[in-house]
Amino acid sequence: MILGLVSVCTPLGDSCLSRGMTRLPPISLAHPSTLIAAVFTPWVALGIAFLICFFASYLTALSWADLTYILPATAMGNVFVELLSRFWLHETISLQRWLGVVLITVGVGFVARGPSLTVKPAAEGPALADKAEPAALKEHAL
């Protein structure tokens, strides 16, 4: 569920940010304060709310799994966007995009079948090995 929240909140947040930022006039590096003002526009604020949800879930996931496990696993967000576009917005998805969906799904399947946490054989090994078990259990519970 935690990885699902990370996957869903990221594309929703990015879409809101994009919508908000393209409604603003072009921002110059000479006036960086306009970037701060952009944070308070409705679409950017909504995007930030989604990204706060993402960040809380992401931090929780990072506390029991490797970074190199979480990042590919949460790429399913891209697939959710494509599926929403096809079945909710009834958009036409090209063959190339379906291929992208398949590749991401296979990639996520690859990483999800492996261990979520690196078990180090050094002195700290037993402690990490103990943690690997609940992490794996959390994954199977999804």
């Binding site: 006039p25 072009p26 190199t68 990042l71 943690k131």
Partner: protein
């Protein structure tokens, strides 16, 4: 009212995307190191409640270092989205960050980035590229 996005030059686009990827990678590696040093948040929450879990996170200096870089990445992304389309900036930053994080995870966090994880990162990168074109 929506302002038209004027497509900038190749080097400008490369520079702003590189800035997002660099800040994002440094921020994520520092945050991951902080969360590893704190321990399982679910266990901390079970023992000390939500306040204890929040206290454990906000009292970790490494977390704030990561947060600063993630904030820089966020404002770089806002700037990028103001100049580039989401269809270019989104997949480009997402897929490049995956690769740079895999490299940084291996060398800085000493994670076991085995063939399975490399394959997954490459498949996701190619998949994101296909989705964007």
């Amino acid at each position: 009212m929506t302002f038209p996005v004027v497509q900038p030059g190749f080097w400008f686009a490369t520079a702003v995307i590189a800035a997002v990827v660099l800040c994002s990678t440094v921020g994520e590696v520092l945050t991951a190191a902080a969360m590893k040093s704190i321990g399982d948040l679910d266990e901390i929450r079970a023992h000390s409640g939500m306040k204890g879990a929040i206290r454990a996170v906000v009292t970790c200096p490494l977390f704030f270092a990561g947060l600063i870089f993630l904030a820089l990445a966020f404002f770089s992304l806002l700037f990028t989205l103001n100049h580039l389309n989401l269809s270019l900036a989104g997949p480009a930053t997402a897929s490049l960050t995956l690769v740079t994080n895999a490299i940084a995870g291996k060398f800085f966090l000493k994670e076991n980035v085995d063939r399975r994880r490399w394959t997954a990162a490459v498949l996701v990168c190619v998949g994101v590229y296909f989705l964007a074109h």
